[in-house]
Point group: C2
Chain length 483, copies 2
């Protein structure tokens, strides 16, 4: 799957650049068209034929997004045989291009010995992530098939939170003792040139006799240094490092403040354990925010539609069940005011509008609070300031929406008092909604709860109850004018 420019024959003499660009195929080719349209069919044929070479070539020629679609649509049985047919190296390259949830599905579907063979080909941080993504019993079966030292390392990394420095770090790093001379380092690098992946050498890490990190070398300095000098003479001393337990937010702060591409990770006693890369931290941050978004909709597990129906349904239903109970709670306000509703049935038309619009306004405030929290622009203790800022927007938007809905009610029923009831209720409830929406994520965060998961249900329950209560009690107070 790796692209090696040197292997390409230079067919043209002149500027010979491989430009990546999507474009129409040069000519119409019916078979190629089918493969592009339904790539999983071709993959299924190759799995059935146990054609290792053909399958590897086919997957290698696929775009990353087609790979994802192929795995999504391949049936469960063939998904189980795929890694075995493909072999460990090509499987590891395939999994490098899929998200963890898809890799987990492939590994769970495969025999434990096959899964272990594939995992052995992957970098240590990814091994750990994937083992963590497996069902516990599958994970135990796979770990039993791995060589003891690999399994120990993977288990250890899997013990770190996946979004911590320990969970994100790569342990395949290049380090040398500080007493080594520059010449030996260069010849050692030359000897290992083919083992070490191209891009993993940006810095060379320097340790003392006990493996503790003492310095960092830039390749450039190594390049410019006489070969007899020892590393401790020209290394950068007291380099910046993070501890294995550093959180994703701490890592983002580190990389925000500095242009570094990677930062070494040390344990409690300063021993070098790995390197965490800027790109991996950025990726983990992007994934976290997408995960938060899905959690706010009740997609708690990393659902893909290729997963088992029972798992998909159960995971969604867990959140929906809590929600329906909160909804019943909110609707009990209406039940308690049935007499008012019976007298002015037109109010029933406006209850869902007020519920939905207040939810929308409140969710806007939630979204802004979530963003400002993520940026560090606000902290949980800023809740009063946030509330002041939200009330201002709520007063303006509440007035606008209230006037609109009031006018609609007035024109529809020809009763200005009805307009007043629903308009006033929506205006006031908009102010309540943005206040609650702005504050709830801060309060949840203050008490260590997950704002993404709980803000929405809390917000809509409060705004529904307040909205129903406002409509029905204002109507009850103004009843003589309404009937």
């Amino acid at each position: 799957m790796d692209f090696d420019p040197e292997q390409r024959p230079a067919q043209k003499e002149e500027p010979d650049v491989t430009v990546v660009a999507e474009g129409p195929p040069p000519a119409f080719d019916a078979e190629a068209e089918v493969e592009r349209d339904e790539p999983w069919k071709r993959a299924a044929e190759l799995v059935d034929a146990s054609d290792r070479l053909g399958l590897a070539e086919f997957l290698e020629a696929s775009d990353p997004s087609d790979l994802s679609r192929t795995i999504e649509r391949l049936d469960r049985d063939r998904r189980g045989r795929l890694l075995d047919v493909l072999g460990p190296e090509a499987s590891a390259e395939l999994m490098d291009q899929l998200v963890d949830a898809q890799c987990g599905e492939l590994l769970e579907a495969a025999e434990p010995s096959v899964a272990a063979g594939v995992l052995e080909q992957m970098p240590s941080d990814e091994q750990a992530d994937l083992i963590a993504a497996l069902d516990p019993e599958d994970a135990v079966a796979v770990l039993a098939e791995l060589p003891a030292d690999v399994a120990r390392l993977a288990e250890e990394i899997a013990g770190f939170s996946p979004d911590s420095a320990g969970g994100l770090m790569n342990t395949d790093i290049v380090s040398f003792r500080q007493s080594t001379d520059a010449g030996s380092v260069v010849s050692d690098l030359r000897r290992r040139a083919d083992q070490v992946e191209d891009d993993s050498i940006q810095y060379i890490y320097v340790t003392d006799g006990d493996g503790r990190l003492t310095g960092v070398l830039r390749l450039r300095d190594l390049l410019l240094s006489p070969s007899w000098r020892t590393l401790e003479d020209f290394m950068i001393r007291s380099p910046l490092a993070v501890q294995t337990g550093a959180s994703l937010d701490e890592l983002l702060d580190v990389f925000d403040a500095r242009a570094y591409l990677g930062v070494p990770v040390v344990d409690d006693v300063g021993v070098l354990r790995g390197v965490v890369q800027r790109a991996d931290v950025q990726e983990a941050s992007g994934e976290r925010s997408e995960r938060d978004h899905r959690r706010s909709q009740g997609i708690i597990d990393e659902e893909l539609r290729s997963m088992r129906l029972v798992d998909r349904s159960r995971s969604r239903l867990a959140w929906l069940s809590v929600n329906i109970l909160l909804n019943i709670l909110a609707a009990s306000i209406i039940a308690a005011h049935q007499d008012t509703l019976e007298a002015v049935i037109a109010l029933a038309v406006f209850l869902p509008i007020i519920s939905d619009m207040s939810g929308c306004s409140g969710n806007q405030a939630v979204a802004v609070s979530m963003r400002e929290l993520a940026l560090g622009a606000i902290k949980p203790k800023d809740v009063l300031w946030v509330w002041r800022k939200e009330v201002q927007v709520g007063l303006i938007n509440g007035a606008a929406l209230g006037l609109l809905i009031g006018a609609v009610a007035w024109i529809w029923k020809g009763n200005a008092w009805l307009g007043l009831v629903v308009g006033a209720a929506l205006s006031i409830n908009t102010v309540i909604a943005v206040s609650v929406g702005g504050a709830v994520p801060l309060v949840l965060k203050r008490f260590g709860k997950d704002p993404a998961l709980a803000s929405g249900p809390i917000l809509t329950t409060v705004t529904d109850m307040c909205g129903f209560l406002l409509v029905l009690s204002i109507a009850s107070a103004l009843m003589p004018h309404l009937i």
Copy 2:
């Protein structure tokens, strides 16, 4: 703001590692406590005193998240003077740690000449992003103050879509003619060592006489090459490159498929224009998904609460206005069935529950479709497959939720038929909601519309209308059993 380990005195002899970790302060210090709690107050004092050195030191010592909070809370007037007091270099370092929206606010508040001075200190891609983030009239004023060549380059880059290779690329790159010898390259690099930022040299790009990209050099190969060899002898030929117009998705595919840290960007005729970095692409991708999330809640502009009230309110209201009209449309279904509602007033209690729960179920399907679209696991033409997968979940979850709400209705009013009406309506509407929710993002994408912005309002309007219609027409059909 940059961390230079070499400048630090090595106070200890032994392992001397700067570990970044949050922890309690060593001792309580009342003044430091206030600064940490309300850092904008100290910043305001320093701006008022025009204390350039003090302000720079204070900001340098702040955590990145505290910086963001300081700018958020500083009043508009002082925000306008901040960059002037701080001076161009320190301002550019500060802005490197803020999001574009906050940088834009600082630049807009400052005098155009001050803003231009700060921009001159920034890399070309960031200049362009920030100019694009300004109000048009502010952008014109700032461009007029920039040197002609800088302004021209910034305008050119700003002409690329911010999420394209042209918009994301950095133009400050190291390139050499292919006829240069290795020795000259090394001595040139040595001469420029201090100008060139640490991490920007990972590859050295090689061009022909017309500036067209012909090869790429790894630093390692340069290190191991005799000084008399010319670059064309040992460069990697026909390197991978992307065109300036390549989209973010294409860039993500490129970096997904390969372990490269950066990819060169060329124009139509193959001339090297810049380099796009993996970390920048990952960051842009994360920001896009967060932006999509906020757009789905109607936060269309990049709102921060430090922005002007009128802008914040107007931007939120634009989306709410569309929503309230859709809500009124949906509620017109209830208005048309007032007689049914009047006969069975208990139904009014269940209408908001059915509306909200269907919205929740549908939004779960939207979230899964958005994720699978982003992964490439589905394409717009897979709409039938998605629908089949969703119907299965919808049938199970609809049955569960319908039974629950039906039981509640039955127990509350002691009328099994009422339970049947609301239970059946919610069951059927759940299937409709997941079908619509799963399909809508695909259909919108198929027609080139933004699924993040429009999926939610379309979904809730359809599910509200169907839900109200189901409850009221089933009730109407079973009316003899309900009264």
